[in-house]
Amino acid sequence: MSRNAKPGTAILRRAVARNGKHLWSGTALAGVYQLCAALVPVLIGVIIDRAVGRGDLTALLVWIGVLILTYLVLAMTYRFGARHLMRAIAEESHALRVEVAARILHPRGLRTEMRPGDLLTVSTTDAEYTSYFLDHIPRISSAAVAAAVSAVTLLVISLPLGLIVLIATPIVLAVLNLTAPLIARRVGDQQRQAGKATSVATDLVTGLRPLRGIGAEDAAAERYRTVSRLSLAATVRAARTQNAYQGVSTLLSMLLAGGIAITAGWFALTGRITIGQFITVIGSAQFLIEPFGVLAVVPSWVATARASADRVASVTRAGLVLPPGDKIIGGTEHDLRLAGVSHGPLNGLDLHVKPGEFVGVVAHRPADAEALVRLLAVPDAYGGKVLLSGEPLEEVERAEARRLLHVEPHQTDLFTGTLAGNIDLYGGDRLDDALRAAAVDFHDDLGAPVTERGTNLSGGQRQRLALARALLTGPPLLVLHHPTTAVDAVTEQAIADGIRTMRHGPGSSFATVVITSSPALLAAADRVVVIGDGAVTAEGRHASLSVHDETYRRTVLR
């Protein structure tokens, strides 16, 4: 169908393979269930013919007994078959969800154009729709069983009637199948539009504060309304196609069942079959409408599952940003060396951070600082050399690289939970030191709750928590990016002293790089490197740079 059809198909195929036990047990039981259901109209015909028609009480009791027995089997097979299938579906959607999450969180970084809202849709709705495919299989096979039983019954009663069913059914289904691509396109379009609407809602709700700040609630609501209307239009378009199809399939199924019944009626009137057989035939033909209906809507179900599987595949099969580094670096002393690095605005940057050093970095252009931080966190698409203890950074095993070189993101992200849960990630033993160093003095109780993304804390509090978290982690190389922008001057000084005490005591081999324009932090550093126009323009101690370098003074001494 589309060029993405293949990955989606592979996902569906794997879903079948890995849920084999539950899927096939469930499908088999569902088949037996359907067999029993198909026998019910046959039994109705028999009872009317042999008991009601002839006034035979014994026959009535016997055949009602058979009917009860059939129902007993039917109920049991459903109960256990459906549970197997439900388990398969629930396990599969769970597995897909976790898989999508794992891919999004992959240490090497996911290469995707999708927005968080789209990713959320993939992880919820699409994972679910894909797993529904496991429900389609037993439904298809049960419908096929029902059709087969009815066909055999009809063949036994009358060869021509059976033949009509066997020949006409595939023709009807083939005709209906012609519309499958159109339905798939409409359904795909509808899902895309719905995803877009979800994305916009997510984006607007995420940016709620800035929106409210400028009183743009109405404009934002209007923007959502526009995408919602587009989504509605796509839904109505899809509904038109699907229901046109539904109408035609109803028409054809009714004509098919009706045609069989009329033929049977004619046979009965002309004495070729008995009246009991006639009732069985119309019961079966009427019963057949449902499995036919199922077989007829199968293309649209599968199309939906396929469209979702394609979207799941577009995440789980998306490329990764970083190569699979495998180098492990031994030893306790680590250095970081950048030589002739170009990356974004960086152009020929040289920087060597030796073990034990506390280096301040001043970037005249914020973009340079951001590029440097981004590069150290995700060493991708750069020129020159970025060496961690002599090894190219991207070739070092990811977890190892991040353990040795920790780059604290400037944007503080906290997770729902407690203060302790957000700071003490690895059970470090210097918790009190870290709290003191980062001036986390605003809460006595570390068990205090942190709401989603830390919104119950102020910007300054969040920033200090993140700093405490980074310090407690104790990486050999620590890179901080404007760590004190949301704290006051006095606290800033305390933090500068705290970082020195915590990481640069006597004999420590820890190295720290602080990208900042804070004089307090820069004064605490062993040396300061100044970056302008993408390369190092000056270097020295803060005190001497402040005296001798006019540009530096203007930048830092505000």
Partner: protein
């Protein structure tokens, strides 16, 4: 059927009780009232949908009835011509039934999607106006799951459940009428199944409803985790938390899965009870038919027709019963959306033109639902004046700024502009640029148009130029039409801040509150931003939260805060001379140089 509504109430109650911080859920009564009111606004559409549905149901009953009559003709030994009227009925029914089924499905689908579209738009519109406090406490994950998962659940119900449910109801009603028409005793025999169906539902729903509520809560928790981790991806990577976070997600997802499986266990037993009802009804029809034929009250053909009609109902009624819980499921989602609609939103109740452009806090006390963070704060910013708020972290600067801008409402006292409380001001009187920046996904120009939807490209370029952002904006791949934000071109923090200021310029309010807006960019970026802020604030009354004392020094007056109170007020020079707290701060600041 009182139990059903009780079960619904239980579901809503469980949802609200199990997580104290979650947004409210509407009661079944409120939800139904909302739905009823909405349907009344679409009378003609609803009537047409119902009519088409009735026609489709009638068309599907007619053949069974006609065939029953044919049985008698066969028994009576009629000639082959007797088949012709039956054939005509069947063909006509097929044509009418096919058309009516398609039309009914489409009309019901369109009606449902239309209602849903209105609902989701109103939900999002309400969400956008929720008080900041409510939103922070409830978490965005819950809100996001309502605007994504819940809308999807209803959407699915509208597309897959609603048409089938309505047609099953119509079919059951018409079939029962037809059976009663054949012979009232046959009709009654079939109706025996009715109470059994009701018993099955009454057994099932009270068991399923709390589980569904629990499932929803579990799904909300799961999606909150997802959102948090996607937005905090950089942190997850930096701390190598991938496995831990994935573990949490897997746990939340597994919990939701287990609840679903558990609910389904009840469901399969429920279906067993439905089967029991079918068997009882069918047995009753056949035995009654047997007796009636023996007594000569009805013909064999009539019994056949009744049995066929009854058997014809099994599928649709099972569907109806089965979708009852999916409808209930969608109902739970609906209740969560309607719950959002019922929230108190921040709307300007009265709009008064302010008498001037001066901003004032008058004896304002405020606490985030607990001990006051601000106590009796009074300050005034004159027309066109720039006042800087200075103080240690946690002194209450941001809170004061939020109160001044109307983001928060004072517990006591007033925040006013030109004598009018800030929440009664006309739109575009006051703007706040807060610490949190966000680049809205989409073309850059569209981001800015949120501030003024009618702005032309020229006005947008002018606003960007004013804050010194036009240069880089035009250098983007598609200029001001470049797609930025999530999934688009990534902008630096400083540029995002410039955009925030450009939005203010475009909106052109007389009063502006600036909260740490220049603090994020570091050295040179900060100076650019300070210039941008100065340009954006030109001619406006401004209250700014200053962390850089240079920023404060440049203001007309400085307000020094400590522990939620104002301790000093005055111009820079005066305060430095006075030798108070500000003088200390300034000394510390200068000493670092």
């Amino acid at each position: 059927m009182t139990d059903i509504s009780d079960a619904g109430a239980g579901a809503a109650g469980a949802g609200a009780a199990s997580a104290g911080l979650i947004l409210p859920v509407a009661t079944p009564l409120v939800t139904r009232a909302w739905l009823g009111a909405d349907l009344r606004t679409r009378k003609a559409e609803s009537a047409f949908a119902l009519l088409a549905g009735l026609l489709a149901a009638a068309a599907s009953i007619a053949p069974a009835y006609a065939l029953g009559l044919l049985v008698d003709r066969i028994q009576a030994g009629g000639d082959a011509g007797a088949v012709i009227p039956v054939a005509v009925v069947i063909v006509v029914s097929a044509v009418v039934g096919g058309a009516a089924t398609g039309v009914a499905g489409f009309l019901i689908g369109r009606l449902g999607s239309g209602i849903l579209a209105d609902l989701r738009e109103r939900t999002v519109a309400t969400a956008l106006r929720l008080p900041a406090l409510v939103l922070d406490r409830a978490g965005r994950g819950d809100l996001l799951s309502r605007v994504s998962a819940d809308i999807a659940a209803i959407d699915r119900a509208v597309k897959e459940v609603l048409p089938g449910m309505i047609s099953a109801l119509l079919l059951a009603t018409l079939s029962l009428i037809a059976m009663l028409g054949i012979d009232w005793r046959l009709g009654l025999a079939g109706a025996v199944a009715g109470p059994l169906y009701v018993i099955a539902l009454r057994w099932y729903l009270p068991r399923a409803a709390p589980s569904y509520a629990e499932e929803r809560v579990a799904i909300a928790a799961r999606s909150q985790l997802f959102v948090e981790n996607m937005q905090g991806l950089a942190t997850v990577h930096a701390y190598r938390l991938e496995d831990r976070q994935l573990g949490d997600i897997a746990l939340a997802s597994a919990r939701a899965r287990d609840i679903s499986i558990n609910v389904f266990g009840f469901y399969t037993r429920f279906v067993g009870r439905i089967n029991r009802a079918e068997l009882t009804g069918l047995g009753a029809v056949l035995v009654t038919g047997f007796l009636l034929v023996r007594g000569g009250f009805v013909t064999v053909g009539e019994v056949s027709a009744a049995a066929l009609l009854f058997h014809r109902l099994f599928g649709p009624i099972t569907l109806l019963m089965a979708t009852f819980d999916r409808a209930q499921d969608a109902g739970a989602s609906l209740a969560r959306l309607v719950g959002v609609l019922g929230l108190q939103v921040e709307r300007r109740e009265v709009v008064c033109r302010p008498a001037g452009r001066d901003l004032a806090l008058d004896r304002v006390t405020f606490g985030y639902g607990g001990a006051p963070v601000l106590r009796e704060v009074t300050l005034r910013v004159g027309p066109g004046e720039r006042v800087a708020l200075v103080g240690a972290t946690g002194a209450g600067k941001t809170t004061a700024a939020s109160l001044a801008a109307g983001i928060l409402r004072p517990d006591q006292g007033y925040a006013t502009v030109g004598g009018v409380p800030v929440n009664e001001l006309p739109a575009r009187t006051i703007a706040i640029v807060s610490q949190e920046t966000h680049v809205f996904a989409g073309p850059l120009a569209e981001d800015l148009r949120l501030a003024r939807p009618s702005a032309s490209d020229e006005e947008i370029s002018a606003a960007l130029d004013r804050v010194g952002a036009l240069g880089w904006a035009e250098a983007l791949p598609d200029g001001i039409n470049t797609v930025v934000g999530d999934g688009g071109h990534q902008l630096t923090a400083a540029r995002a801040q410039q955009l925030a200021l450009a939005r203010v310029v475009l909106q052109d309010p007389p009063v502006v509150v600036l909260d740490e807006a220049t603090a994020e960019a570091g050295s040179e970026g900060a100076r650019d931003l300070e210039q941008a802020a100065t340009a954006a604030l030109e001619g406006r009354t401004a209250l700014l939260v200053a962390h850089r004392l240079t920023q404060a020094a440049a203001a007309d007056r400085i307000v020094v805060m400590e522990h939620g109170r104002i301790i000093e007020v005055g111009p820079h020079a005066d305060l430095v001379t006075a030798g108070g707290r500000y003088a200390q701060l300034w000394a510390a600041w200068s000493a670092r140089t």
